[in-house]
């Protein structure tokens, strides 16, 4: 495993600047998650590191060595794709063995057999080894895809939304499993997702991308508690942070244009009266959809609340975040 460094890396596709001047250090043994919406450049960063795309400018170092001129094979990275990476004409066993049989690794067969069995056990697919890849369920397929990366011991594992096509329950199980495997192996892992839950629960470090730029890099807690901008603030947290005109409640610092209130920043009982629009009961939490002077606010309340649509509840901010006109955090 190795440290991976991106130094001022940019990549454009025609007029689209997919990645802009990204500088990023992925420490050895870290689980780094790149978070951003579709089109933020997350996948392009992965493809640049893997060598499937060539950077226009900037340098990429894997284990201290510049790899920008290397082919994907020479870079010694393993990648898990969002979908489609299992070969439908091969069995699960042959799919798992495929990377080990490559001309670069040329592993002896008995070693392949052992390694494949080991990985299959870890991922609970040992009983499916002789099935055709197409005869698997979605969850099994994705575990085999991850397994195809795990059979190798590359410098870094690259994963492109490997869980996004799975249902919620399976996703939750695999999240914990993946985190455990990464910790056990001490592997360096770069993981791309637009799912904030994956980012928060698995990452040692989160990088937030906005239109190709890396706008913040830190631990999940840092990103959640001290976002540098309103954009970053709205990437993490469910329900999403409420962004409202700063003057709505008064007491805003000078220069503030927007107040950002996460649900826990909305204190109920005192302050301005807001109308209850809808009470959304999700079982473990109950969300209040409020309207205050034409602005929608979502907050959490006591699970078995007696609020009904049409009721009035007084609210005020508590330790809220403030942002200036450009969206940058103040104070």
């Amino acid at each position: 495993m190795a440290e991976v460094i991106l130094n001022g890396v940019s990549k454009a596709f025609g007029a689209t600047r997919a990645v802009r001047d990204v500088t990023l250090t992925i420490p050895d043994g870290a689980f780094v998650v790149l978070l951003g919406p579709t089109g933020a450049g997350k996948t392009t960063v992965l493809r640049l590191i893997s060598g499937l795309e060539q950077a226009d400018t900037g340098d990429i170092l894997i284990g201290g060595r510049s790899v920008v001129r290397d082919t994907p094979a020479q870079r010694d990275v393993a990648m898990v794709f969002q979908q489609y990476s299992l070969y439908p004409h091969l069995t699960v066993r042959d799919n798992l063995a495929f990377p080990l049989r490559s001309p670069i690794l040329k592993t002896p067969e008995e070693q392949i057999t052992r390694k494949v069995r080991e990985v299959a056990e870890v991922l609970h697919i040992a009983h499916k080894l002789d099935n055709k890849a197409t005869a698997l369920s979605g969850g099994e397929m994705q575990r085999v895809s991850i397994g195809r990366a795990l059979v190798r011991s590359p410098q870094i594992y690259l994963m492109d939304e490997p869980l996004s096509s799975l249902d919620a329950k399976l996703r939750a199980d695999l999240r914990i499993e993946l985190k455990r495997i990464q910790a056990d192996l001490g592997a360096t892992l770069l993981y791309v997702t637009h799912d904030q839950i994956e980012a928060m629960t698995m990452a040692t470090h989160v990088g937030v991308l906005d239109q190709g730029r890396l706008v913040q890099f830190g631990t999940p807690r840092e990103i959640y508690e001290s976002p540098v901008s309103s954009y970053v603030a709205s990437r993490l947290g469910l329900p999403r942070i409420n962004l409202l005109p700063a003057g709505l409640f008064g007491g805003a610092p000078s220069g503030a244009r927007t107040i950002g209130m996460r649900p826990e920043h909305v204190a109920q009982g005192e302050g301005k009266p807001a109308e209850v629009i809808r009470v959304e009961r999700l079982g473990d939490q109950t969300r209040l959809h409020l309207r205050l002077e034409g602005h929608d606010i979502v907050t959490l309340t006591e699970v078995h609340t007696s609020y009904e649509p049409g009721d009035t509840v007084a609210i005020q901010p508590r330790a809220a975040l403030y942002f200036d006109a450009a969206g940058a955090r103040i104070g």
Partner: protein, 312 residues
Amino acid sequence: MSSYSITEPSARQKWIAGTLVILYALITMIPLVWILLTGFKSPADAISYPPKVVFEPTLEGYVNLFTTRTRQTPEFLAANPPQTWADEIVRQYDMVIAGPSKFGERFLNSVIIGFGSTFLSIVLGTLAAYAFSRFKIPLKDDLLFFILSTRMMPPIAVAIPIFLMYRQLGLSDTHLGMILLYTAVNISLAVWLLKGFIDEIPREYEEAALIDGYTRFQAFVKVVLPQAATGIASTAIFCLIFAWNEYAFAVLLTTGTAQTAPPFIPTIIGVGGLDWPAIAAAATLFLLPVMIFTILLRKHLLRGITFGAVRK
């Protein structure tokens, strides 16, 4: 109350559809069955009117197809009793078998040229289609259009220039010449069909192989080819059918060594009136290779022909 699904056909609808399919199959098969039967008729039965459906089968047509025969004097016939069942058949016309006919050779020519050009079309077509599908090629769209445009005229329209070129190059009446010609005609179809199939194979498969340490060519062989098998099979069938059945160029460019079966078969209608059973026997044998080839590739073919409509 019977239960059924609105979106599924009812038993009655299935019955009607089945009947129509069987009826259609019968109509299209009648000429083929007629040819098959005629091959086993005697010349007299073959031209009798009204046509005979029940007749005494004979291999006379097949014997006539594969042999040349000469008429002999009664003395010679008496001195040389028939040696084989084939001899017996020709004796009834006071003839003996003089030697093998050219049909065997011509049939072999058809096999060499038909399968040879199919193989070449597929190899070149797959490589070209892969390149067009995966690489950024300057003027790609124009090149693809140009390739397709070679199919916009009937190939025979360029018969005269090709005839002259082949004479200059010494390719007239050679196997190589015919293979190259049929390949040239088929390749545009092959490139277009195969590009469609390869476009549908996600790139991620090859990219995964590249990262796992394979070269692009290895990824192509190990990952793309197996998945393109369906497309390759159905394209191969289209190519073979064209090369196998082609008549006009074969007449023009082949006379002896490289002559294929299509121009040869009509020459059987020769000496001594119309030998319909022999022609029918030739036609029957001529149909077999394409039929066997198609049956072997059948499981690929169904999905191949409907490609675009059925996607997974």
